[in-house]
Symmetry: D2
Subunit: 448 residues, 4 copies
């Protein structure tokens, strides 16, 4: 096996959905729904429909046989139809009646996608839960906020994960809405139900089939359902993947030797580097970032697939065979991996505290300016004092509060106790905890 979604990445449940035998099974389910519906509509004897339905599984219609026939006919659906006909005996003549190949292919693919989205939603919900748990647990754990890779002002570690949770939640909301786009079609060779009309079936047959399968029918179609539907789904997959990438990147950065505020769980028997005991390589987070690149690259082809020619050309077909499983299976892998990371995330609050102090209190300059202004100092003056004091603190490598304690200008407005109080990192985390609570509440009630 060659491709990593075959030999390396993805959970068994997701891989099963895209396995070529499962693809066959989905298509057989559509053939079964077709003949059953035709029987209900009086076009096919009930007994024949029953037989076909029974036979329409990979147990009877063997993948090898279908491939054998395809070798000759060069047409995969015709091969499946022939194989199903073969095992259905007399009833065989009712197989595939009124259908066009893509009625089967597109509807089966819609089923497949629906199930795949559901797997993603389930794992996504676990991820959301993991983020909310961390948010809850560390909502008061002060950590330096970083912008441009530089220490800015304090946040809490829980607040950081409340942000992640909210993004993931919003991604999932949208992906759930996307289930509407997993839509099949049963409208014939060019989308106008010409074959069905001869039988006087209107679009009743299509609705009945989709009803049995539990998916939407496209409101209108050509030989194929609108490719915009797939594009929307793959875009939202890529966006969820990008959010996970952000979380994984954060882990990688927090796990840096110099930062060491958090790290992936590290198995006992895992070899980071055979000879470098000090290393804690965030390999799962890195792996996620690599696979997200591949997931993102799936967007361009599905966007190109939209503009099919006339009532369809075939270019989307080969493309979707690669792109859909790649996007779903890799996202599934990425989610499994980030969940494992977050469920066992090593958080090191003492290093957070240590790092917070690295710049000797100068990250509190903004807060101190505001306090001075509130006490009546001119903004310009306050600004200037803090600017100078901060530079002094950094230059002499002493604490800002020490500098301020010795500042006559500051002393006019703030007592030493007030300086002490207002310069503490804890005093300047704003609404970190409240916002975290708010986000937790927002998502606690959310249901898939």
């Amino acid at each position: 096996m060659i491709h990593p979604i075959d030999n390396r990445y993805g959970s068994p449940e997701m891989r099963a959905i895209f396995d070529e035998e499962k693809r066959l099974e989905y298509q057989l389910r559509v053939e079964a729904a077709l003949v059953e519906s035709l029987a209900e509509l009086g076009q096919v004897p009930a007994a024949a429909a029953k037989i076909i339905k029974e036979k329409a599984t990979p147990e009877f219609v063997k993948l090898e046989r279908v491939k054998e026939i395809e070798e000759i006919t060069r047409h995969d659906v015709m091969a499946l139809v022939k194989a199903l006909t073969e095992v259905s005996g007399e009833a065989g003549k009712y197989v595939h009646l009124t259908a066009t190949s893509y009625d089967i292919v597109d509807t089966a693919q819609a089923l497949q996608i629906k199930e795949a989205i559901n797997v993603i939603l389930a794992k996504g919900k676990i991820l959301l839960g993991n983020c909310l748990d961390i948010a809850q647990k560390y909502k008061d754990t002060v950590q330096v906020g970083r912008t441009h890779g530089q220490h800015a002002i304090p946040i809490t570690f829980g607040f950081k994960f409340a942000n992640f949770a909210d993004k993931i939640g919003e991604d999932l909301v949208r992906l759930k809405e996307d289930l509407r786009y997993a839509a099949g079609k049963f409208s014939g060779a060019v989308g106008n139900y010409a074959a069905q009309e001869i039988y006087g079936l209107g679009d009743e047959l299509e609705l009945r089939i989709m009803g049995k399968l539990g998916i939407n029918a496209a409101d209108i179609s050509t030989q194929v359902a609108p490719r915009e539907n797939l594009a929307r789904i793959v875009c939202d997959i890529a966006i969820l993947a990008a959010t996970v990438e952000q979380v994984a990147k954060e882990v990688r950065n927090l796990q840096r030797t110099e930062i060491a505020e958090a790290s992936e769980p590290f198995g006992k028997s895992q070899v980071g580097s055979s000879t470098m005991a000090q290393k804690r390589n965030p390999i799962n987070s890195e792996n996620i970032c690599g696979n997200v690149r591949v997931i993102r690259s799936c967007v361009a082809p599905v966007l190109e697939d939209v503009a099919l020619e006339h009532e369809r050309d075939l270019t989307n077909s080969a493309c979707e065979r690669s792109i859909l499983p790649t996007a779903f299976v890799l996202l599934d892998d990425v989610l499994t991996r980030i969940n494992k990371i977050l469920a066992g995330l090593v958080v090191i609050p003492e290093n957070m505290a240590k790092n917070l102090a690295l710049t000797r209190g100068t990250i509190m300059a903004e807060a101190m300016i505001t306090r001075l202004v509130q006490k009546g100092m001119g903004r310009q003056d306050a600004h200037e004092i803090l600017r100078q004091s901060s530079f002094e603190a950094l230059a002499k490598n002493i604490e800002l509060k020490e500098v301020l304690r010795n500042s006559e200008a500051a002393a006019k407005y703030l007592s030493k106790e007030e300086i002490e109080k207002h310069i503490s990192y804890n005093s300047y985390i704003g609404r970190s905890a409240e916002k975290t609570d708010q986000i937790i509440t927002k998502w606690q009630t959310w249901n898939l």
Copy 2:
């Protein structure tokens, strides 16, 4: 000027939204909403707020002055703040109070995007109308349906455009939902309202500002609002663009010399080719297809922008400066162009009729098989007869109906009148007209 969105593409109204002076104006509107809100919350004297609000327009705060300051400070928002302060006199000290640069930048950008989406929606609605008009007018005009570039079975020209209309409608529905993602933020340097909290403002200030500006606040943010929001919008822009690409590609193909069933309107003084009078180059449709490539290429960068580091890095900034105007202005141009094409679309039903007959009736083989089966012939037999008859018709270049009229086997099941009737193209357009009506009804009631 270099870039075609500056010197060539886009409508005045869309270009205005992204002009650098307009960007300044949006940012000034946010500064005004800020100071106004602070006044209402008792933090700033009402009189001072009034002055700042009056001055916060490009009329007073000149773009050149801002650029001049930026030359020195290397910081665009600080330059704007300084310029606004300069013109506000005494009130100047209340400018930008409690704000972080990106509170202004992100909120202003959300405003900009909201207006840009509204322009797109308006033009998209015209496009939807144009497609529905064509669908209505030609819902009974028979045309050959083509799959794989090959004649398949008949549709109607209206049905083709009903398909386009529905896709465009669905694209617009989604883009309209996306307005929720044009969300600002006013939560300070790391997203936790630390500065506001010192003033005891909670997130009340943010809500008040967004209320004044008529946009959502992100439920939680870091220094920036979630970049997923932009990614979603740009993805949906790219999908709408892809749908338009399909329409334009259809026009190009139908306008081919050999097909000539429809064509772009062709101005009197327009030079197609100076020396080739026979040419009707579909240059606007081609132009659309070219620009859609560029629009699609905007997706990858915004997806990459999602995974900012920690409480933000700056990489999204330069990227969004290019990508957002490019995506919006080019889509705007593409919509204007397709609307012009469709409003004046030249439709040539006689060529549709001529092309329909090109394959001597053999596209009706499927229909005839079904008719024979309905009359009692075995499916295999019917299939074989039509296969042979079709080959004969094509080989001898005679009409299929002629071959069938001479077929003894066929004669047992169908009279000559029945053959004549069932082999007519009109008899096999299925539900083309009904589906067209259904789609027209679906969208007639839709409001922006």
Copy 3:
């Protein structure tokens, strides 16, 4: 199996190169070259090296065993090292000496890529030959040249393929040059040969290993060889794929029902459409266009892989596992398919002649203007006459030459015989044949 490069696309020889067992084999070859070189340099007993070399094949080091160990260690190369050590008995302690995992991984991958490029070059050369054959055979077969999908002026069918041939040839030249970028590295954990230096080996070891394997060493490396190398190769793969896409698109368009100037070979037992005998679906060309979309999408991730952090991060790893096999196997499939199409291409000169005449000679207007001007008529006048005559010909559906024969103005400059001669399509193919010959000569002498 899920991914189409595992269950559907690609030749056996290319799939073999990327099979996970073959990946193992390449890595074992590098381990063998390593120990052999160390023996030559006096660091390892010759006998031990001999044993390890013998055991370093998938026959002894079983893929299952390696995977088993990896399950525990979570490190693929360490698993391989352990598995090789296990089967090497006493000699085992000399396995992997001085090496870092990526010395093995990157060098093995360079070998793999080199072989994969060679497969592509071989198939590409066949493609070049197929194009040149068509160019040669049809260098005088007049066909209408089309720009904007519109009839322009005549070319020859051979000339069209001379263009394709030259593009493909240039693509191959570049891809062959790219073999230099299939470069390995054996420079240790951070690229500075620290481990080797302790043994006093300098970079001699690296050169010796690469010499044995027949590939370049990167001039300098970190833990990994420069990712620019892969980016260059994948870009050139995507460009070759794009050229093939153009050829396939041309076949699709020439095979359109209305054009029908050429078509894919069509197997006897192949089912185009079960009920549409008239259809000749260009499914292989369409398949190519679909797969080329996927190949093109491989470029973005490898470009993102370039900017690894510090002396490397791991993000390229997962990414390359997907992208490299996908790009190579799909290109291989695309080449096989286009070669099959072109080797059996059905060319229909009579339809070329028929289509050429579709616009009633008006495509010769440009030629006639020039002839009139050469005979002394003013350019403006000539232009105007041809413009009017062309419109008349098209409007009345008569031949342009008929109109011109009746033109008094034209008669002053050209006799009826001259009109007849100069208006013939054959007389205005320019240097189609000469250029074709020139291109044939250019590439005939080219060697892989």
Copy 4:
């Protein structure tokens, strides 16, 4: 102005090349070369050619006038031809003789690209020089090598930049080779020189024109030169950009508050953050990373442009208008910026030393194992001792050498002096300096 390449990014010299007036100028230069060549070939009076050549500049042919005409004709080249004719008086009738619009457009664009590549090469060479300077200066400055964001083993700072230098050098070599792809064409409406042939000019005219302009002619063309040429150039631009991204990312990471080993130069009056004195935001490096995303996104559209239909369609035109200037101007900006950063790079060796010691010597475990093995200890034993000692050092937060000094097992093989010597970071930088020298030598002799 809207697009940042118009109002924000890019050097004056690069922006000038892509300004719409300059585009006009290039096209006029081609018209001049055409008429001059025709005169030399005896087809046009020398005097007329002289006049046209004189007038063929934007001084006489005003951009506004061309745009005015284009408003009416909807054809940009025809507008230019008309405008040039207008100002050429009697000689006007010889303007554009035998030419097709794209002969002018494509050849002018080739000129433009050639000049743009030359600007890139010049700035790239400065970048190469900057990297080599840093490499030279710090070739012995020990710094920790990092893989996976974790401390690995030592390198030197110069060695890091030797890696960058070599990548940039290789990128430039390739880009210089790409000048051959800046190829024009003068082969008429479909590429076969039909118009020229009537004049008996063969391809002599094309060669003469390209000779005058100093660029290659495509060996064969259709209406347009092969788009593969542009694709190759844009790919190599994206690769160079990606290399620069890596350098910029390195600066961002080394400038992190916790690492602080290097930083961008920081101007006196530059406002990092108004209230956060401690911040040294690497805004230029971040800006580079953002713009590189946009540059990378330029690849996909040019790859799609390759597969034009028949003898050309127009889709490449709009696309290239956006993509080419965006790619070149942004790369130009990125190069300018990185050069500014590197020329003033703040390097802080004392922090390198401090960080190196962060893991208490455990990064030397690999080295110590090798030393022990060289002295005769079994590899497994050595490995185990170092593993345990490293864990002890990290757990107790003491130096590894201290642990080793107290190890009886180690003492059997290494004296305290030897431990002291071999555990020093300096002793394990391998060939960092030698490789650096080697790379410096390699590129010192390289000429543009």
